[in-house]
């Protein structure tokens, strides 16, 4: 069955530390890939998205993600986190053909000031 794995469930970092959150998916066809973020008390919102072209995608607030097709991965990165990045981060995949959205279980990031 198609699935999305986020390996880190809880991450705690100090401000200015670098961030990398892992995301792997299992689907052999064409995919669109997303990272969504949910800040405390707010709605889920789009952070960045890949659907074609340059596999390195830049999103809002200095986040970026790289699609590595051979590894079925779409890891999220930020060189220097801020306290305001404290949130829950969800990786999602939209599969071609069935156009089914599948979300990972989420990573809860806490940044210490």
């Amino acid at each position: 069955a198609q699935s999305v794995s986020q390996h880190n469930h809880h991450v705690i970092l100090s401000e200015a530390a670098s961030l990398e959150l892992g995301c792997n998916y299992s689907y052999g066809g064409t995919v669109n890939l997303f990272w969504y973020v949910q800040y405390p008390g707010q709605h889920l919102q789009l952070l960045l998205k890949y659907f074609s072209g340059d596999p390195l995608v830049k999103g809002i607030k200095g986040f970026e993600a790289e699609f590595i097709k051979s590894k079925f991965s779409f890891n999220l990165r930020k060189p220097s986190v801020q306290w305001s990045d404290t949130a829950e981060y969800f990786c999602a995949v939209l599969t071609s053909g069935t156009y089914k959205y599948i979300f990972g279980t989420g990573t809860r990031l806490k940044v210490l000031a």
């Binding site: 919102q45 789009l46 959205y101």
Partner: protein, 117 residues
Amino acid sequence: EAGVAQSPRYKIIEKRQSVAFWCNPISGHATLYWYQQILGQGPKLLIQFQNNGVVDDSQLPKDRFSAERLKGVDSTLKIQPAKLEDSAVYLCASSFLGTSGTGNEQFFGPGTRLTVL
């Protein structure tokens, strides 16, 4: 641009009671999604509409859950009768398109937190 609206925001019911949630998507968005998010898990798709037709309801427990999208705009999700394990946040999302390419990112509402006692 107004966002996705959902009501109610919170609901507490006893098991075996019924409950309904309402969603108003962003104007012009053809695709509407209902998700169930249990604490500590990612959103699980319950049903996806394209205009007023169902695209995917494979994970909807049809013995107790039902959903409709009248006139391709607003949507309601109903649970009847509710079970303890239905306690979760029910999210509604919409997108301009539901297919590959541009315009398929989802916009989420605030969710309805359901507690079944």
